[in-house]
């Protein structure tokens, strides 16, 4: 019972901004996909958004993990950097595809992640997977198993640039 109270208090501290963020996202999603502007359909859309918000509230999924609004200031910079990394990795992988099997050196290693929160670890693991040439195979605690197409990819990861950037992103909150 006591535990329940604490989570409720924490929730009331968090949920207005997260509910607002979810509501705006849903409205945009509805409007982009339908593009209707007559009153009947708009009100039906609003009703369905409210229903979804209510269901999400009852399911207890509106929190800082499903709506990471606290990251929104720093995330554009990180995404720009990640895009640059993805383009570079793509060029490297395409080069190795056309060079053939003799040029690749598949590697499986375990590395440490320095993020504290689950959200940070997920961002780091997903960034690694999104970059062609490296895939996060497993994540236990703060140790990640990573499969890489080329050995140099692992060296780049171990240099820790991406790790540092994700930790910075997470620490801002």
């Amino acid at each position: 019972m006591n535990d329940n109270k604490v989570t409720l208090e924490e929730k009331s501290k968090y949920w207005p901004v997260h509910t607002l963020s979810l509501g705006i996202t849903l409205s945009l999603f509805w409007w982009i996909n339908s593009n209707y502007s007559n009153l009947l359909l708009l009100s039906l859309g609003a009703a369905s958004i409210l229903l979804v918000l209510f269901i999400a509230y009852r399911m207890d999924v509106i929190d800082h993990e499903s709506q990471p609004v606290h990251l929104s200031i720093k995330i554009p910079g990180y995404l720009l950097w990640l895009t640059k990394e993805i383009i570079l990795a793509n060029i490297s992988v395409v080069k190795h595809i056309w060079l053939g099997n003799s040029s690749i050196s598949p590697t499986l290693v375990t590395i440490d992640a320095s993020q504290r929160t689950d959200l940070g670890k997920v961002i780091y693991a997903n960034s690694i997977t999104l970059t062609p040439g490296t895939v996060t195979v497993d994540l236990v605690g703060d140790r990640m198993t990573i499969h890489a197409l080329i050995k140099e990819n692992i060296d780049t990861l171990k240099a820790g640039e991406m790790d540092r950037r994700v930790t910075e992103l997470e620490n801002k909150c």
Partner: protein, 113 residues
């Protein structure tokens, strides 16, 4: 202005096609499941991205742009999750893995010295 957009769109579409083709060639060429997954990564990220950007340039004003942007975002969010699930399932089922002989198989070193 219009001709510039057309040319840009054409270049993006061509690049996207080349990247998707490379991904397909990679799937056929690479030796095992895990390396093939990396080849698919090219098609997933920059291949799809370039084709979608090319299509966006075809119609830079209007709702189609927003819809294509949404598709791009959703693709970028969904793909790593799917790749991770596939890789994890393959590893758990002890799928045959081709590893480079010269590398240390354990490789259990921390990322920081």
């Amino acid at each position: 202005m219009n001709i510039l957009l057309e040319i840009g769109s054409g270049i993006c579409l061509l690049l996207g096609c080349f990247l998707c083709l490379s991904g397909g060639v990679g799937i056929l060429r690479f030796p095992d499941f895990f390396t093939r997954m990396h080849a698919v990564g090219v098609t997933d990220t920059l291949g799809a991205g370039m084709i979608l950007i090319g299509l966006m340039l075809q119609n830079p004003t209007g709702l189609v742009l927003l819809k294509l942007l949404m598709i791009l975002l959703l693709t970028l969010f969904i793909n790593p999750t799917a790749s991770h699930a596939l890789a994890k399932a393959a590893l758990r089922n002890n799928l045959h893995m081709v590893l480079d002989e010269s590398t240390d198989k354990g490789g259990d070193k921390p990322s920081k010295p």
